[in-house]
Symmetry: C2
Subunit: 424 residues, 2 copies
């Protein structure tokens, strides 16, 4: 029976004109691709299409010709712009039938807020003939799961919370039941302080061999902001054995790259540093100039960071450096605001002022203006004072525009803290 | 001649396995869609596909069946993973021919750095028969422009700087020459402090009429982090008349929504506030707690912000509030750290400490822990002290997780500064 062929490939179609002109992060497809990988189903293509019935229909037809699973997200609301149901019905030549239970559920949802269901919401109760309704406890748009000629079509609402809860139930239920025994396993490592080509040079002799191994391991190198990611993936029916092989492979890469590897579990730098500080009962304070609060903001992005972050000063003007971080006017005059001496004084000043174990000082030129021949845009001096009061200081030159310089400077500062703490 | 039919629709295909598993911002497609709109060409679909020759080929074939212009980005490098050229050649049944001028150019590029061109780079000199080569002064991957059966196929490199420079030349050159006289015009407005449905309620009676006007105006409402965007678009051959009609329509929306509209030109809140401060020669300083440096970081994201941002304190612990922002321990004990009294004291403290014209104080509970029945997670008190020393203070309750609470709190604080400065 063709229906019993395990599902191997998937495509995602996000519906919504507003998504075409947006730079917003696409968290839905990342979530869906991870859940699909967990079932051994590989995401081949993801697409975005506007609220145009014919365009959605054609895109869906083509996707269904290419992939075993097609997931459409969004376009399930009650308005005229919500066309996903209609477009899929057109493509599959299936009628839409009103589901009385959904109407009742939406009516109850409105009634709980003392409201009557607007007539337009009836549209959300239209179900593709033969589809399983996926109830939505978090919103009015139900999802739909349909098996069609051996393929699976999944309609999910766009809001991430609603989509995620529904997808998890589908994975545990009808989608999981149709998946094969193969699983897609992944391992990641994050590296900082090296270029992509340098990381490739160190690791390529290792991973190039794994492409022909059995089972095969695929490696992707990806340059993120302030770090390089290595992704290892492997397809196998024996999850335990594959997991071991993958860990072994990853450990060989770690050995080749060395202490520039800062994360093996997807944690970002601020989380890695935060966990190290918390484990060791250390506190930190920051005085930053060119990074303008971004270093503190990254440190405090981490839930629970109030346990180890005491506070910080953003000393943008010279006057503020003197007032907020106790920098002496003479030092500023002698060395200039962007100097290793001032970086150290910022770190020492904020450390003694707050009583933190660790002080960090950052000063530099983020651009686009303010550069000089000897200190061009991108020049940043970073100092870290350790719990014994010993200072380390570096001056780096970062490429890119203002945002890149600022981010890389915070990444380098956090990495200096990481190495210092690891060494103590 | 079919070749002379003006181009109306476009699709973008981004090639790269790393893009499928990434949450990185897709700035390329936004840039391309704007340039296309400038030529009256509407972006219908954007897709991402992995480095798989057959998958790229099929996706490209389907896109070419749907759209007048297909732009493929990425996959033009020298390695085995770079398959865009091959996949397009497969689909169009066109041979790839080595271009001697490109080989020479890449050789010169390497020679300038004292290197010999690696043999693999020859691959980058392979050109689709009949295509125009688009030179790449910023990298080794040239682009290609091909007219095929009345359609246009464009191969562009993935790195944004390289892609943008090349696209601008294509728009001014062969792509612009094939576009029609119609242009797609846009107007935007950003609103803060209101929900999406509230903005819709105020504006829907206006924009619903424009759908049937001639020329028709389309309106999209889009909820961004901390703000609502209204996008108006119009297609017309008479750019001047259409621009006037669009401005008129936008002004009606502005009148309906009122002073919650903070931007009509795409500038974000930190830029709007920064420009207002700069124009009025005002300086600002910030003492923030739960936002942990994010408010300062947003203010200093703006190039040239050192002209009006003096400095800030991130007073995460009570101890730091006392030390960095001169908050009295008695006040903290009496009102609690999250209170309007402490918000005002933070704003006053940092203002007098730095000598800034405007002081801002933020204190609250970002979560996920720390909430109480009377002050749940999301409670934030924000104070702004104006150049006369008068304080305004508000306490707000923001929905969402830690990151959402933090961002919305900075948005509300910047908006309070905006309204205060506008009123003076």
């Amino acid at each position: 029976m063709t229906d019993e062929r395990p599902l191997r490939t998937a495509e995602i179609i996000a519906v919504g004109s507003e998504l075409l002109g947006s730079t917003r992060l696409d968290t839905n497809s990342l979530f869906l691709s991870e859940r699909l990988a967990g079932l051994g189903i590989e995401l081949r293509t993801k697409s975005v299409v506007g609220d145009d019935r014919a365009a959605i229909r054609t895109l869906f037809e083509h996707a269904l010709a290419r992939a075993d699973v097609v997931i459409l997200t969004g376009g399930l609301g009650p308005t005229d712009d919500d066309l996903t149901r209609d477009a899929v019905a057109d493509a599959l030549a299936l009628p839409l039938e009103e589901d009385a239970a959904i109407v009742e559920m939406i009516e109850r949802r409105f009634a709980r807020r003392g409201l009557r269901m607007p007539a337009v919401n009836r549209k959300q109760a239209l179900v593709l003939k033969g589809a399983t309704v996926l109830t939505n406890p978090l919103g009015t748009a139900p999802g739909q799961f349909l098996e069609h000629l051996g393929r699976v079509v999944l309609l999910l609402p766009g809001p991430p919370r609603e989509l995620q809860a529904m997808m998890d139930r589908v994975v545990a239920g009808p989608l999981g039941a149709r998946a094969g025994h193969e699983r897609l396993l992944r391992a990641v490592m994050f590296v900082t302080g090296r270029s992509e080509s340098h990381v490739e040079e160190l690791t390529q002799p290792l991973y190039s061999r794994w492409r022909d191994s059995e089972p095969r391991i695929d490696t992707t190198i990806l340059a993120g902001p302030g770090h390089i990611e290595l992704h290892l993936t492997m397809r196998s029916e024996d999850a335990e054995r594959a997991g071991e092989a993958l860990t072994q492979a990853r450990d060989q890469l770690v050995a080749a790259v060395g202490p520039d590897v800062f994360s093996l579990d997807g944690r970002h730098m601020e989380q890695v540093v935060g966990d190290m500080l918390r484990e060791r009962n250390l506190t930190i304070a920051v005085a930053e100039s060119c990074t303008g609060g971004l270093l503190m903001s990254r440190l405090t992005d981490v839930p629970g960071s109030s346990a180890y972050v005491l506070g910080g000063a953003v000393a943008y003007s010279n006057h503020a450096k003197i007032l907020l971080a106790d920098i002496s006017p003479d030092l500023l005059a002698e060395h200039g605001a962007v100097s290793e001496a001032v970086a150290v004084a910022l770190a020492e000043g904020i450390r003694s002022k707050t009583g933190a174990n660790i002080g960090v000082g950052v000063t530099g030129i983020a651009g686009p203006t303010g550069g000089t021949p000897t200190k061009p845009v991108g020049t940043v001096s970073i100092a870290v004072v350790d719990p014994n009061g010993t200072a380390r200081v570096r001056t780096l030159l970062f490429p890119g525009g203002r945002a890149q310089v600022r981010f890389q400077a915070t990444q380098a500062a956090l990495d200096m803290v990481r190495r210092m703490v690891a060494a103590t």
